[in-house]
Amino acid sequence: MMRTWQSARRLLPLIAVFGMFLAGCGREDLSVLKPQGPAAESSLGLMKLAISIMIVVLLIVFSIAAYVMIRFRRKPGQNEIPDQTHGSFKLEVLWTVIPLILVIVLAVPTVRTVFALGDNHSGDKNAIKVKVTGHQYWWEFEYPDYGIKTAQDLIIPAGKDIAFELTTNDVLHSFWVPSLSGKIDTNPTGATNRFSFSAPKEGVYRGKCAELCGPSHGFMEFKVKAVSNDEFNQWIEAQKEPAVLPADPVLAETFKEQCLKCHAVGDQGMSVGPSLTGIGSRESVAGILLNDDTRQDGAPVEENLKTWLHDTQGVKPGNLMPDPKQDMGLSDDEIDRIAEYLAGYKLN
């Protein structure tokens, strides 16, 4: 075993070079190559080890290939018959044993990391428990210890271990935050999955669904927002506050009747669709319309809400929300006012 580690250590310079090369790729909040937490780091560590070994293998194969193809090319007029060698026992043993050693070098840390990442923190008192439920095409996050539910934005305290319990309400999905951790599938209840990760640095990280789940599979995104402990506690408290309804009582009534059939705000409504509590302070509408008007691919919350409510199928084809105008009979004006109200519904 010592040996294998030594040969692994010899690869370190190569790993370093590759690390630098790969680190050039992608966004910090999204790329596997720029890990922002320990789980993603341990995956990347293995990837670097594997790719270093593999590059060595490739270099050997490529050089031999280039050599034989150039050196033994038939020249014009060359017509002799080369030696009909049968093979070489020694050489054949050599290229059985070397790959075997390389495989062992990779297998040992692989097995270790499998067990290390298998630790799901479900019994850990200090970990924050979160139940993730996949829906076509949105994510529900429940905090059983605090009795609250939210959607699309997963708020977590930075630095703490989060103990996840994952299921799906319909088809299979897969929960993936590339810069924080590898993915894990959401299976129907009965085959609930557990795993854990943490985000040491505060920030917003992009999450995706990685299992084909229907037409809008590609749009089933979410955000993980790591905040300070205090901010987290404040957010929990704010979530528990009673619902804020539209100031106009007529609009409030329409909103209750039409929207709260599926959605929830504060202590009111249902959780068939994503909770709307504090949607004005979320990172995105529907997971993909980014509420960031400082960037060219973002727009103010209110505008995004209007985009969504006026054309839900256009934004996310195949999603299960009825159309506000066609199916719920709301007028354009009512839709805009509801959007305005929701945009102003902020926590804190």
Partner: protein
């Protein structure tokens, strides 16, 4: 008519080639449409539903209907010749295998015209592939079409097993068999064990969908993870069904063009068997993120990595076959030489994927798309191109143009690496697979553009190949029996294209590379193992075609047995299984005719053999 009734393995090979060409073309067009949709972020060239149908049909078509028949075409064209046989063991079954395959494939593709193609991915994971989430008949076309096509494949596999076991020429022991015959043998064995698994899976899924059973439906106590196990117990061996024949082809082409015998023949045989064996033990590496236990993940990770060892043996043996040889880069050998580094790159990423904690990141991203295309396209398709250019004169009596062949090679391989190399990075940068579009500003745009351009180039390479085939077919057949001049195996000892009976006299095999051995001993041809005598031939018959048509009708009937049609009569026919019954009646009727009517075949007499 001749083509519908033929039972000659050489003609069936050509039928397989046409069918393969057709489906490969369809799958290729689907691929180009997919790449066109992904050329820029938020593209709306096709809608989300159509996109999912396209990826599903592309994957399904390519794996089951595109490359498989081309492999079978080469096997049919070459195996009996390589082992010195006059035909396959069961010529009638051979034809039946082809026709069921073809009609299964046609049924699957009919879905485009009959209300929606399957849309749950080529893996058809439940519950997405259940009626609750996939409401069209798409997935029914998938389950029933693949079952019919799979029947054909299974028949073909059994036929090759029997042929290779029982019909080798005198003197051809197993350890004197050409590598392509070996890999065909092992591939057929894998088919024999793997296809029953998918058949059971597809039957159960059909029951779920059409008869309302609950095998894979969570609400009814079924398990989606069970489907994944059944699918991959078939699915992983399936990728070896695809790649082993390519290994065989490369092992034929390289020695011929290096003028050397294959380096380490017996370790090649051993490695092939080991790969087949390990191929059955590693299916759960497709399921690392399903939530298996760490113990299972660790075991499957390590057993998967082990496959690298026999694969490595093969790579180095090929390289050392070239070492010290006199290497000529005719088109077949260009493809074979391009195969080695390209396939190695695919194998290497395979080992990376096997490291389970790293796969938590790779899985279901473009990294995986890159990996398996490196293996399937960079490995198998390059192997098939090598084989087609190599055996074309034997199949058709004409040499493909070398100039066009080289053009095909260079456009194809450059296009290939452009398309797929960058996808490794897309995956690592966070792009999942099977997404119909992506948001801008994620650093995905440029690499996707590059990938689409590469796909276009590959398409161009295909067109050059088609042009080559077209131009060649208009030339007179002029290829000699041994057109590459350095042929080593038995098929090169007879004229091109070979006569209906293959060998006038069964050859006597005196060693590995039998024909080469005779040539270097100064002999013009093979030493016969028997005097010239009358040759028994099987009769042509339309029955296999009729049987396949019957199954096709029965499949369609069953699929629509729950539908309401606007015409009461049509509804009556389908809902009471009249159509299904009619189809089965046709098939069983043809079987009955086959068993009652004694066909002794016919004979070619010695005078006729000499009189040419």
């Amino acid at each position: 008519m001749d083509w519908i009734t033929t039972v000659d393995h050489k003609k069936i090979a050509i039928l397989y080639l046409w069918a393969g060409g057709l489906f490969f073309g369809i799958g290729g067009i689907e691929a180009l449409l997919i790449r066109w949709q992904l050329i820029k972020p938020m593209n709306d060239f096709v809608d989300a539903q159509t996109f999912n149908e396209l990826i599903t049909m592309h994957g399904t078509t390519m794996i089951f209907l595109g490359v498989m028949p081309i492999i079978f075409a080469l096997m049919n064209a070459v195996i009996p010749l390589q082992i010195g046989a006059r035909d396959v063991a069961f010529p009638f079954l051979n034809a039946l295998g082809f026709w069921t395959f073809l009609f299964g494939g046609l049924l699957l593709n009919l879905s485009w015209m009959m209300g929606g193609a399957p849309d749950a991915g080529w893996t058809s994971y439940t519950p997405l592939s259940g009626t609750a989430y996939s409401g069209t008949h798409g997935v029914d076309f998938y389950t029933i079409g693949l079952q019919i096509a799979g029947l054909g494949t299974l028949i073909g596999g059994i036929n090759f097993l029997a042929t290779i076991i029982t019909m080798r020429a005198p003197g051809m022991s197993f350890m004197r068999m050409p590598m392509f015959a070996w890999t065909t043998f092992i591939t057929s064995a894998i088919i024999l064990f793997a296809f029953p698994a998918i058949t059971v899976g597809l039957v159960l899924l059909t029951f779920d969908r059409i008869l309302g059973a609950n095998f894979f439906v969570p609400g009814g106590g079924g398990s989606p993870v069970l489907w994944q196990h059944i699918f991959w117990i078939f699915g992983h061996p399936e990728v070896y069904i695809l790649i082993l024949p390519a290994f065989g082809i490369i092992s034929e082409v390289i020695p011929t063009f290096a003028r050397k015998r294959l380096f380490g023949y017996s370790s090649m045989v051993f490695a092939t068997i080991l790969i087949a064996f390990l191929g059955f033990m590693v299916w759960a590496h497709h399921m690392f993120t399903t939530g298996l236990s760490p113990v299972a993940n660790a075991l499957f990770a390590v057993s998967t990595m082990l496959i690298a060892v026999p694969t490595g043996i093969k790579i180095f043996n090929w390289l050392f076959t070239l070492w010290g040889g006199s290497v000529r880069f005719a088109t077949p050998n260009l493809f074979a030489s391009g195969f080695i580094p390209t396939f190695t790159m695919g194998g290497v990423t395979g080992v990376m994927l096997a490291s389970a904690p790293a796969d938590f990141q790779f899985h279901d991203t473009y990294f995986v798309v890159a990996h398996f295309h490196y293996v399937i396209v960079g490995g198998l398709v390059m192997g098939l191109f090598a084989g087609l250019h190599y055996w074309w004169p034997k199949m058709f009596g004409r040499m493909l143009s070398e100039t066009l062949g080289k053009w095909t090679f260079w456009t194809f391989i450059i296009g290939f690496h452009l398309t797929f190399f960058v996808q490794h990075f897309l995956g690592l940068m966070g792009m999942q697979r099977r997404v119909f579009t992506y948001l801008p500003n994620q650093h995905f745009d440029t690499l996707n553009l590059v990938s689409t351009i590469g796909a276009g180039l590959m398409g161009a390479g295909m067109l050059v190949f088609l042009a080559n085939v077209w131009i060649t077919s208009r030339k007179p057949p002029d290829a000699g029996g041994d057109p590459w001049e350095d042929g080593r195996t038995l098929e090169w000892s007879i004229p091109s294209p070979s006569p209906e009976y293959n060998f006038k006299q069964t050859p006597l095999v005196r060693g590995l590379d039998a024909f080469w051995k005779e040539k270097t001993a100064g002999n013009k041809g093979m030493t016969p193992a028997e005097p010239i005598g009358s040759i028994h031939m099987p009769s042509a018959t339309p029955l296999p075609f009729v049987m396949a048509v019957g199954i096709f009708i029965a499949g369609l009937g069953f699929m629509f047995s729950r539908d309401d049609f606007s015409s009461a009569l049509v509804s009556f026919l389908f809902n009471n299984y009249v159509v299904t019954g009619l189809g089965l009646l046709i098939t069983f009727g043809a079987m009955l005719v086959r068993s009652l009517y004694d066909d002794h075949g016919w004979h070619i007499e010695p005078e006729e053999l000499e009189g040419r």
